[in-house]
C-alpha cells in the first residue's frame, strides 16, 4: 500500500516533467509554435532549458508604447520606422507590458522543440546559445514578442503571423558587448 502511493507519486511527477509548460494545452501549443519559429528565424542551435526573467529595467522601459517606437530595426521590406501606436491599442500595450512584468521561469519541453535545437543547462560555455523568455502574444493581432540573451547581446524580437506563418517583423536591440 505504502509503495503504491509512492509509485503513484513518481508517475505523477514524471507526467509533470513531461508536460513542460504548466499551462493550457492550447496556449502551450501556440507558445511552442512561436518558440520554434523564433529558433528557426534566429538560426539558434542551442537554448537554455529553462525560460528566464530578465532582472533589468531596460526591457520594461522598452515595451512602453513610446519605447517600442524609439529604436528598432524594421525587418520587413518597408524599411521605415514603425509607429506602434498605430498598430496597437492602449490595451495591447498594457497587455505586452503586463506580459513582460509577469514572466515566469518554465522548463522547455524538448519534445516540442525543433529537431536539432539543443536544450542546455547553462549558456556560459556556448557563444551560440541563447536563453529566452516565454513568448508574449498579442491576441487577435497576430504579433508575438520574445526577449532573448546570449553571452554577448540581448534583444527583443517581434514576429508577425502572415498566412499562418510567423515571419520576422521588428528587432529591438537592448545591449551588445565586445
Amino acid at each position: 500500500m505504502k509503495y503504491n502511493f509512492l509509485i503513484s507519486l513518481f508517475v505523477l511527477s514524471l507526467l509533470g516533467c513531461k508536460s513542460g509548460f504548466d499551462v493550457s494545452h492550447e496556449k502551450s501549443e501556440i507558445d511552442y509554435q512561436v518558440i520554434n519559429a523564433f529558433t528557426s528565424l534566429r538560426k539558434i542551435n542551442a537554448l537554455k532549458k529553462d525560460t528566464f526573467k530578465p532582472n533589468d529595467s531596460l526591457l520594461l522601459k522598452l515595451v512602453e508604447s513610446d519605447g517600442l517606437n524609439l529604436f528598432h530595426y524594421n525587418l520587413t521590406e518597408n524599411r521605415k520606422n514603425i509607429d506602434f501606436k498605430e498598430l496597437f491599442s492602449e490595451q495591447d500595450f498594457n497587455l505586452i507590458k503586463k506580459g513582460f512584468e509577469q514572466l515566469e521561469i518554465r522548463k522547455l519541453d524538448k519534445k516540442k522543440m525543433l529537431k536539432g535545437v539543443r536544450a542546455i543547462k547553462k549558456i556560459d560555455d556556448d557563444r551560440e546559445a541563447r536563453m529566452i523568455t516565454t513568448p508574449v502574444i498579442v491576441p487577435d493581432k497576430n504579433y508575438a514578442f520574445i526577449y532573448s540573451e546570449s553571452l554577448s547581446d540581448g534583444d527583443l524580437f517581434c514576429m508577425k503571423k502572415e498566412n499562418g506563418k510567423w515571419i520576422p517583423f521588428v528587432s529591438f536591440p537592448l545591449w551588445t558587448s565586445d
Binding site: 528565424l41 534566429r42 538560426k43 539558434i44 531596460l58 522601459k61 522598452l62 512602453e64 508604447s65 513610446d66 519605447g67 517606437n69 524609439l70 529604436f71 530595426y73 524594421n74 525587418l75 524599411r79 521605415k80 520606422n81 556560459d124 557563444r127 546570449s150 553571452l151 554577448s152 547581446d153 534583444d155 524580437f157 520576422p168 528587432s171 536591440p173 537592448l174 545591449w175 551588445t176 558587448s177 565586445d178
Partner: protein
Amino acid sequence: MKKHSFLKFTLSFFVLLVFFYSCEKEEAAELEITQETEVVQPTEQEIISSKFSLDGFDESSGIAKNSLKILWNEHKKVTLEEREWHEYKVVESVKIDLEKGEITDIAYSLLATMIDDNPAYWLLRMDSRNGEAYSSYFDLEKGGFTGMIYLYNLKGEMSMVRYYQKGNGFHGITKVGNPVALPAPSASRCDFKVTSSNCAGTSDCGLLQSTGGSGCGNGGGKGGYRRVRIPGDIIDRYNDHNNDGKGQPNEYSHTIFMPDRYKWVWVSNTSSGHVPQRGQQYQGIRSDGSIRNIPRPSVSPDRVIKHPSLIKYPCVGRIVGELARGDFKRLRLNKLGQLEGGKHLSKTILDLFQNNSKYHLSIKVGTLSNANGSTKIVRNTPSKGQITFEITLDKRFVQNGTKLVIARTLIHESLHAYLSYQYQNMSTSSFSSLLRHYLSQNGYNNNAAQHRLMTEYGDAIGHSLSVWDNNKLSMQYYKDLGWSGDMLQTREFNKLSTSRKTAIRNANIAEGSAAQSATNKAKGKKCK
C-alpha cells in the same frame, strides 16, 4: 370721537400702506420691465471672443497653442468685398529663439468673420524672411512682406498657404480636385485651400490658376512649392535656482522635443533645396515654477556623460577627454565615416553625441561577465524620445589592460552607439541596407551584424587610436588593435591572411583584457 379718530387714523394708515405697497409693486414691475428691455445683445467681438478656442490644435499642427495669447482689445476691423473682418493681435508667451536662417521672424494674428451669425476663425502665421516683423494680414501687400503665410482653421488644419515676395502674393496651393470653399479674404487675394493632412506630395497638391483677382504674383516659372520637414524645436530647460536669468550647466533640468513639422515652402528654381531651420530654445524655470526664456547658456548640458563611477578611475576619464581631441597634425579621411578636417572616428562620435540633445552617451566602469566592454541602448525617457547609449568598461579589463587597449575599446563601443544612431536616423540609406543585409544573414542578431559592419571600420579605429596616442607606434600596430572582441568572430576576420590574424590576436593579448593582464610584450602602459 377718539374712537372715530382712531378708526380714521387706522384707515389712513392702511390706505397709505396699500399705496406704498402698490408703489413698491409698480416699481418692482417697472424694474422687471426695465430689466427685460435692457438685455444687451453681445457684440460681434464678444461673440467672437466667447466662442474662440485653440483646443482643436494638436501637436501635429506645429502650433504651440499654449504659448499663444489673443489680445482681444488690440483689434482692427477691415471690410473686404462687403464682408467685415476682425483681426486680433496674438502674442507668444514663449517666443522661439530663431537661429540665423531664412526665417527672420514669426508672428501670429487671429482673423475672424461672422458667417450666418456664427464666427469663423483663422489663425494666421506669418513667417517673415526679410527681417521685417508683421502683425497684420492686411499689411502684407502694402508693407512689402516677403515670406510664407499659413492660415489654420480651429481644427488645427492648414486651410491656406501662400508665398509673398515684396508684398506680391504668389498663387496658393490646393489639393488637386478639391473645391475651394473659403470666404474672403481668399477670394480677392488668390489664396487657395490646402489640405495639409491629405497632401502627400507635390503630385497630390498643385498650384491653382489665378482666378482673376488683382495682386497675384506669378508663381509659375520661378520655382515651386515643396512640402518639407522642419525638425522639431528643441528646448533645454534649466532650474534657475539663483534667479539670475542664466542657465548654468549644473542647473540643467531636461530637454523638451517638439514634434517635427511639415510645411509648404516656396523654393526657387535656382535653389538646390530648402534648408530646414531649427529653433533651439533655452528656458529657465524659476523657483515659483514660472518659465522664462534665457540667453543661450555659455556651456550647454554635457551629453557625453562621464558616469560617477569614473571618479574611481580618473585614468579612464582622461582617456575619454583625450579621444575627443582633433587630429590637426595629420588630417584623416575615412571612406565610410565621411570624416573631415581634424576629425577622426572617436572625435566625430564624441562630438556627435556632445551636440545631440536626443541621443546621449554615458561612459562608466562596472562589472561585466566575459566581456571587456558593452553598450546598452537605454530608452531612458521614451515619452521624450531620449536614448542614452551606455558604455560600460569591465572593472577587470580596466585593471588588466593598457591605456592603449582601453582607448581602443572606448572607440569600439562608441562605434556601436554610432552605428545604431546612424541606422535610426538614416533607415533607408545604403549604410542601413548593408546593416540590414548583415542582420538577415546572421539570424537578425544585432551584435553579429554590427561586428561584421565594424570590420569595415578596422582601419578607422586604428587611425583614431594613433591620433589619441600621438602616433608613437607603427600604424600597423594601431590597425591590428582596431580589430577586437567579436570582430574576431566574423567571416571577414577569417578571410584575412593567417599572418594578419595572428598579429591581431597577439596585439590584443599583449595589451590585456578582462580575462588576463597585459603581457610584457604590451606597447601601451597600464591605466593608473
